[in-house]
Amino acid sequence: MKVHEYQAKEILKKFGVAVPPGKAAFSVEEAVSAAYGIGGSGWVVKAQIHAGGRGKGGGVRVAKTLEEVRHIASQMLGMKLVTHQTGPEGKIVKRLLVEQVVAIARELYVGVTLDRASSRNVVMASTEGGVEIEKVAAETPGKILREPVERTAGFHAFQARTLAFALGLSGDALKNCVKFLSALTTAYEAMDCSLAEINPLVITKDGAVLALDAKINFDDNALERHPELNLLRDLGEEDPLEVEASKSNLNYIKLEGNVGCMVNGAGLAMGTMDIIKLAGGEPANFLDVGGGASAETVESGFKIILADPHVKAVLINIFGGIVRCDRVATGVVEAARKVKVEVPIVVRLAGTNAEIAQDILKNSGLNFLVAGSLKEAAARVTQAIREPVGA
């Protein structure tokens, strides 16, 4: 799960991570009163969307007077912000963060995430702050310093010092950085994060160390332990079809292609998407219906897939292990009758009672393209894309 920058900063602050004085605003008036309340001689108005690269798209602007805050906030709220992470359709700005301007001396990078290769969390730091860290990692990996969070021993002050010295810090900045890194790592672990990234981390002219930006992702598997995070979920940032799917316990991700698919199991779902691509189509979605593919799940799956106007064909691929294929077939027939599907549907059911299932589909009077093997399913998909509807 992702949260907005202002929410991330509120969480981090509770763990002693230093952030600039700031306040969230949902209207122009709120933005002005936030700036007035924070005080200081200048403010930064930041668009709050779940995507990076906001600065370049005009989503981060500096105001010197309250009037400028008003002007910028009125322009920013409701604007369509396009960044390299939002895609060309962009995102509508509905929330702002107003922060005091800080006197930046240096911009650095720090982050905590899981290092899967060593099955440990790792604290990363770099002098290359404010730029895309993926780029730094790819082009100059030596510029990213790493200290492991030991699984049982944890992350210790000497490791924070090692990183702070390596970043070239001294005096107050060094002390503050050590404190910052320890607090950030504590927050990451306590809140079951999968990523806590501060880019840039700024050193101010008077030696303060502050999170100028903050990005936190949470481990979805641990959300049950942090019920307070539920309130931070911004459904406006999520694809409406994905929100709908999650209500029916379906794991759905919308993609750009023309062939919808419905599969049981995440690995087989990805494999099925690969097959669609090899067959000459582009997957329109990822959809894992999970272990029990009942008539209800198939029906909601159909509805969600077909709500996407780009879908020209659907491939259903169920490997019936514990789930019986004949039951799935009955579900598919029932659902197809109810939902009124107007695109070709390729159905491939294998495993338990697969033959009975194929008969059910063939005798349904509906126009299914039935396949036995995966290979056959691929061929049927190619056929379905080429031939017009109802052929």
């Binding site: 899981l114 899967r116 290769a117 099955s119 440990r120 969390n121 860290i133 993926e134 990692a137 790819a138 699984r151 049982t152 672990e189 079951d192 999968s194 481990d219 979805d220 598997n221 641990a222 049950e224 332990r225 794991n251 991700i253 993609l255 292609g257 599969v263 049981n264 199991g265 995440a266 690995g267 087989l268 779902a269 990805m270 494999g271 099925t272 998407m273 690969d274 097959i275 669609i276 691509k277 090899l278 582009e282 997957p283 990822f286 894992d288 490997f319 019936g320 292990g321 514990i322 294998a350 495993g351 338990t352 093997s373 995966l374 290979k375 399913a377 691929a378």
Partner: protein
């Protein structure tokens, strides 16, 4: 022959009286797995024979703790069906009771919990499989997990996979061709897991009952690349590989917590390239796994009962070094 589970496996089911636990205990008993005990705290001292829906073919004694189960029944392996937030506790309990093989089926275990049990498991030399996995099966001998038993066939191909149903797909393609499996392991789709590809490959490499291996990976992480390097260095048995998710977009979690392309790393293309460079027979489509394994086995003379198909000269040339070493491993037997 097989690895990790077989006729000497004495299984305790943690969470035996729950819905999932009951259903799959019945399936495992029906398959012939020696389920010696179940554990449900508070229900110790009773015998459990399933519920109305899933009746066991015989009673399974239930204990309050895994330690009790081990003491009374000499259980040596456990399978875990407890809810996600209790899975780490169940793993620690089994390990503390002296269980050597722990298979955690539970899906949705927080990463922090897995990091917490990781060192404990390693320090005690416990073999943990999973979490979030279908389990492990040695066809005809023993099934510890939730995979459908009937799709398997006893034989000499090992299967390792990060996914569930995709593994069933691959196994089914083999079985339909008459190619049996020695052992099939689902290692799980989470970012932190007990048994990695390399661990399983090492066991298959040493197993005289395994001639060849199928390795099914997916996007995210670098464990396939590490496995490829290990294979290049150590494994002389032929390996057929597939990576799911070449069409997956970066930054999106594809169902499994571990299946995510982060920071541009962990793409299917990178993994396939690393595997090809290690001499693995990588297939582009999951529909080709069984067919490719059959070809490889024929080329190496490991399917002898059926007449060999045509042998294209260039392919033969390429396979020559593997062939020699394959022949040596056969002699050992």
């Amino acid at each position: 022959m097989s690895i990790l589970v077989g006729k000497s496996t004495r299984l305790v089911v943690q969470g035996v009286t729950g819905g999932e636990g009951t259903f799959h205990t019945k399936q495992m008993l029906d398959y012939g797995t020696n389920v010696v005990a179940g554990v449900t705290p508070g229900k110790g001292g009773t015998d459990y024979a399933g519920n109305e829906k899933d009746k066991f073919k015989r009673d399974v004694p239930v204990f309050n703790t895994v330690a009790d189960a081990v003491r009374k029944t000499q259980a040596n392996a456990s399978v875990i069906f407890v809810p996600a937030l209790f899975a780490a506790d169940a793993i620690l309990e089994a390990g503390s009771a002296g269980i050597g093989l722990i298979v955690c089926i539970t899906e949705g275990v927080p990463t922090r919990d897995m990091l917490r049990v990781y060192d404990f498991v390693r320090s005690k030399e416990i073999r943990l499989i999973g979490p979030n996995c279908p389990g492990i099966i040695s066809p005809g001998l023993c099934k510890v997990g939730i995979m459908p038993g009937f799709i398997h066939r006893k034989g000499r191909v090992g299967v390792i996979s990060r996914s569930g149903t995709l593994t069933y797909e691959a196994v089914w393609q083999l079985t339909e061709r008459g190619i049996g499996q020695s052992t099939c392991i689902g290692i799980g789709g989470d970012p932190v897991i007990g048994t990695q590809f390399i661990d399983a490959l090492e066991l298959f490499n040493q197993d005289p009952g395994t001639d060849a291996v199928i390795m099914i990976g997916e996007i995210g992480g670098t464990s396939e690349e590490e496995a490829a390097a290990f294979i290049k260095k150590n494994v002389r048995k032929p390996v057929v590989g597939f990576i799911a998710g070449r069409t997956a977009p970066p930054g999106r979690r594809m169902g499994h917590a571990g299946a995510i392309i982060a920071g541009g790393k962990g793409t299917a293309q990178e993994k396939m390239a690393a595997m090809r460079a290690a001499g693995i027979h990588v297939v582009e489509s999951p529909a080709m796994i069984g067919e490719t394994m059959e070809k490889v086995l024929r080329r190496k003379g490991l399917i002898r009962s059926l007449p060999a198909r045509k042998k294209p000269a260039p392919a033969r040339k390429k396979a020559a070094p593997l062939r020699r070493k394959g022949a040596r491993s056969r002699k050992k037997r």
